[in-house]
């Protein structure tokens, strides 16, 4: 691996080598800067970063492709020891020498082409017509798809998401490239499919001797699949090294911070969120871009960008003070659930809830025979894959889903299904926070207006000691947001800030139960950690009860006292979180737990 300023000498044995790569917005700031990395044959390197870190830009530029408006400013690229120009002239190499697998397979396949035609198109682009066409069935078999002629005649809309991603992989393999760049190839797939595809990638790299660059936001996934990991922050690789070394003893404070932010169902712990938020493109500070958030920054860090420094052979870090980065200590790892107070009163009880979706002529049962209780100050997690009915249950409790039967009891008294028929007090006591921060807040209302609305509609204003404005100020403080944000509009806020405002708006009603429906799934892990900590505080300090809905077992382990596992609208397992996760009984729970990626697992495998 090369330090800054060194000139890469051609090495025949490398599958890919890139040095000093800088990509920027035309006439604008850099998006990635001075990126160097190397890839051995059949090696998998994981590129990890949060949104805005430049990881996708890096992946695309390795194929000589920039999104409109961006350009490669400098850098050299060698494929198999041959220097190539990083521009449109790479067309003949794309797909043949280096291939790409995109994040969203649903968008990546031409809806007008059958699967066979889609694969043939790539091959035709690189082969003489006379050379004939590849055995499509062999390729499909290689990625575990049905090799039948019937299957290859299907259109993309006729196959599942996991199958689409396998077709994308088959397309990438069709010309036997030496390197494949995979950009978040399993994001959006359920954990079981993700786990299977990761296994297949490992098999394919051995079979085809392909080197891979696996771009993702998920450290646990690269922990499972990658030989080496490169961590990106603000357009630079801040640390890269062998997977085990990097995960067990991270040297960059950002890598360490990321590791401490990841909830892990194997070893639940208190998450330690990093302070501050990631800097965006165009706002990088003069020195180390992480310095403003770094607990060990010195004035030197604010002055100049640290060079890549070797830690051990093959492990390098961009930090002046990497030697003082503390290890990921076991006490940070050790953590325990707060034992639920089984004596406190039941806030919500659901008895034999059944929810249906009525379409024209068809009725789909979204959830059946759901029963549970939530006590004061307790957090109950509802876990399931997409389509398991968990959101419908949340909406039914919030009074937004009318096609329900069974009973919903709030502090012992029965609630009608429709929110508008419930009393003001009933509506006040249950609040819902939804998944997507993009539409959680009315884009045309300021933060202040958004938070004021439930106060005006649901609260008895005579009980507010400081009036509505005073209440808004104290709510913002409670969710750790600065007062000045009150006059901002949602499009001026980051995802994490938006989600905090949404929580503040729910708290504005002074609820007893807050339903959190996948509220962190759109957030980066470091932001997620901070939101989780906030929820924990609300729960312990104010006795708020939480119904926490998620597909992520790591989150459950971090926050929930009790747990319900939902499969196809039916509860298949329930119990205290630690015992369910530690000793699952139901087949489905076992499969979920086995498939969920875990950093601890991957370290255990390697050490």
């Amino acid at each position: 691996m090369k330090g800054v300023g060194e000139i890469a000498s051609p090495r025949q044995d490398l599958s890919l080598s890139v040095a000093g790569l800088t990509v920027g917005v035309r006439n604008g700031p850099a998006i990635i800067e001075d990126v160097s990395m190397e890839l051995l044959p059949s090696e998998i390197v994981g590129v990890v970063g949060e949104s805005g870190s430049g990881k996708t830009t890096l992946g695309l530029s390795l194929l000589g492709y920039c999104r409109p408006g961006a350009e490669v400013r400098s850098g050299t690229l060698e494929l198999g020891g041959v220097r190539v120009a990083m521009d449109g002239s790479m067309r003949t190499l794309r797909g043949r020498a280096i291939a790409y697998v995109p994040q969203d397979p649903g968008q990546a396949l031409n809806p007008a082409l059958r699967i066979r035609a889609a694969i043939e198109d790539i091959v035709r682009a690189h082969r003489e017509r006379s050379a004939g066409l590849p055995e499509i069935s062999t390729l499909l078999e290689a990625v575990n798809l049905p090799s039948s002629a019937e299957f290859s005649r299907r259109f993309p809309h006729q196959i599942s998401g996991g199958q689409k991603q396998r077709v994308s992989i088959a397309m990438a393999l069709s010309c036997h490239p030496g390197v494949v760049v995979l950009d978040e190839p399993t994001t959006g797939l359920d954990v079981e499919t993700q786990s299977r595809i990761l296994d297949e990638l490992l098999r394919l790299r051995a079979e085809y001797r392909i080197a891979m660059i696996y771009v993702t936001h998920d450290l646990a996934v690269v922990g499972k699949i990658a030989d080496r990991i490169a961590v990106m922050y603000a357009g630079r690789i801040v640390e890269q090294g062998p997977t085990a070394a990097l995960l067990s003893r991270p040297r960059h404070p950002y890598t360490r911070g990321l590791l401490l932010s990841i909830p892990d169902h194997r070893r639940p712990r208190r998450l330690e969120p990093m302070r501050g938020i990631a800097v965006s493109v165009g706002e990088w500070p003069k020195g180390c871009p992480f310095a403003p958030r770094c607990p060990q920054a010195t004035s030197e860090c604010e002055q100049s960008v640290p060079p890549s420094t070797p830690v051990t052979s093959g492990h390098e870090v961009r930090c002046f003070r990497w030697e003082s980065t503390p290890p990921v200590s076991d006490d940070a790892r050790a953590g325990s659930w707060i034992s639920p107070d089984t004596e406190s009163e039941v806030v919500l009880e659901v008895r034999h809830l059944r929810a249906e979706h009525r379409g024209r002529g068809t009725t789909v049962v979204a959830a059946a025979d759901i029963s549970f209780q939530i006590r004061r100050g307790e957090c109950l997690a509802l876990v399931g894959e997409s389509g398991s009915g968990k959101t419908t249950i949340a909406r039914a409790i919030a009074g937004l889903h009318a096609d329900v039967s069974g009973e919903i009891l709030l502090a012992g008294s029965s609630l009608t299904p429709e929110a508008r028929r419930r009393s003001v007090a009933e509506r006040r006591r249950i609040q819902l926070v939804v998944q997507n921060p993009k539409d959680a807040l009315n884009p045309r209302h300021t933060v202040r207006q958004s938070i004021a609305r439930p106060i005006r509609v649901l609260r008895d204003r005579s009980t507010l000691s400081n009036g509505v404005d005073g209440e808004i100020d104290s709510l913002l403080e409670r969710v750790r947001l600065p007062q000045r944000i009150a006059n901002s509009y949602p499009d001026e806020l980051s995802g994490g800030e938006t989600q905090r405002v949404a929580i503040a708006r729910a708290l504005a009603a002074d609820p007893e139960l807050m339903i959190c429906d996948e509220i962190t799934s759109a957030l980066d892990v470091s932001v997620q950690a901070a939101v989780l900590r906030l929820l924990r505080e609300l729960q312990t300090d104010f006795g708020l009860s939480l119904l926490f809905i998620t597909h992520n077992l790591g989150l459950v382990a971090t926050i929930a006292d009790d747990l319900l596992v939902l499969e196809d609208g039916v509860i298949c397992e329930r119990g205290v979180t630690s015992s369910v996760l530690g000793n699952p009984q139901h087949q489905y729970t076992k499969r979920l737990i086995a498939a969920a990626p875990s950093v601890d697992d991957s370290m255990a495998d390697r050490i």
Binding site: V25, G28, P29, I31, S51, G52, G54, K55, T56, T57, L60, R67, G69, A70, P102, Q103, D104, Q107, D183, E184, H217, S280, V281, G282, E283, R395, A398, G399, L400, A419, R420, R422, V424, R427, I430, Q431, L432, V434, Q435, N436, D439, A440, L441, N442, P443, R444, H445, S450, R453, P454, V457, L458, Y489, D491, E492, A502, R505, A509
Partner: protein, 288 residues
């Protein structure tokens, strides 16, 4: 590649909130506004400053410009300039009233259909579909044929032509917005549908509605002008730009201005509205 879009978004540094009038910074917005102001001024002030009466012949028919008639005389010997000055108002006020009614009805029906029960939605949308099954101008002509031509009939028939399309746009925009978290939150608070429409939905579908305003207003002008051009609108001797183009065709060889002047005024009016509409749409897509 949602991370890609996320990154493209951060690639643009956070910009202060765009003001609604920022579209006027684009040259087309400025040109549009200047032209529109000019046309409206002519239409409003014109009748006051017109040098000659509207309906009185003041010279020989089809005279070219000169002899105190800067734009010559029309096919009956009336002053073209004065008639151009008189002829904007009838078109402008009719189109404006039509657009206003179209918006009130279209927005209301669209939102009610989207938020109402399935039956309400079906009934309203089938009605809209039925109106959309007629070729636009035809519906207007049929009503004129049976009820005669009057401002009321013109307003009613053109609103019937214009509102269904808007109602559809509003309905689908409302449906799109109505699944958003903040709408759910409002309903979960127990707010009533009218309050949700006013506070939460209308501000958010506003841009969609405004983006349509330019096109729909100019369509209203085109229909009003078209009917008048066909001689099925206002009857002579009253003046309006469309009627003037039609009636002075017979003297086109002797005095071009009888046709050209009102045609150019109509052109300036519709072009200015389309420029403004386009500037708004472009500005909006840039702001996103």
């Amino acid at each position: 590649m949602s991370s890609a879009t996320a990154e493209t978004k951060v690639a643009r540094p956070a910009r202060p909130r765009r003001h609604r009038w920022e579209m006027l910074r684009a040259p087309e917005g400025v040109i549009g506004l200047v032209l529109l102001t000019f046309t409206v001024a002519v239409a409003v002030i014109g009748p006051i400053v017109a040098p000659h009466p509207l309906a009185q012949p003041v010279g020989p028919p089809g005279e070219p410009p000169g002899h105190g008639f800067p734009l010559g005389t029309d096919y009956l010997g009336r002053d073209v300039l004065s008639r151009v000055l008189y002829g904007g108002w009838p078109i402008l006020w009719l189109s404006a009233v039509i657009t206003l009614f179209t918006y009130v009805i279209g927005v209301l029906i669209g939102m009610v259909a989207a938020l109402g029960r399935r039956l309400t939605d079906s009934v309203l949308m089938r009605f809209v579909d039925l109106l959309l099954a007629f070729p636009p101008l035809l519906l207007v002509l049929v009503l004129i044929a049976s009820a005669g031509s009057s401002s009321t009939i013109l307003i009613i028939s053109i609103v019937l032509v214009l509102f269904p399309g808007l109602a559809r746009i509003v309905r689908s925009a409302t449906l799109e917005v109505s699944t958003a978290g903040y709408i759910e939150a409002a309903f979960a608070r127990g707010e009533r549908a009218p309050a949700v429409m006013w506070h939460e939905i209308l501000p958010n579908i506003g841009p969609v509605i405004l983006a349509d305003l330019g096109v729909r207003f100019s369509f209203a002008i085109a229909l009003v002008a078209g009917v008048n051009f066909l001689g099925l609108g206002e009857s002579p001797p009253s003046a309006n730009w469309a009627l003037m183009v039609a009636e002075n065709n017979v003297v086109i060889t002797s005095n071009v201005w009888g046709v050209l002047a009102p045609a150019v005024m109509l052109m300036v009016l519709t072009v200015s509205i389309n420029l403004l509409g386009d500037a708004y749409v472009r500005n909006r897509s840039k702001a996103r």
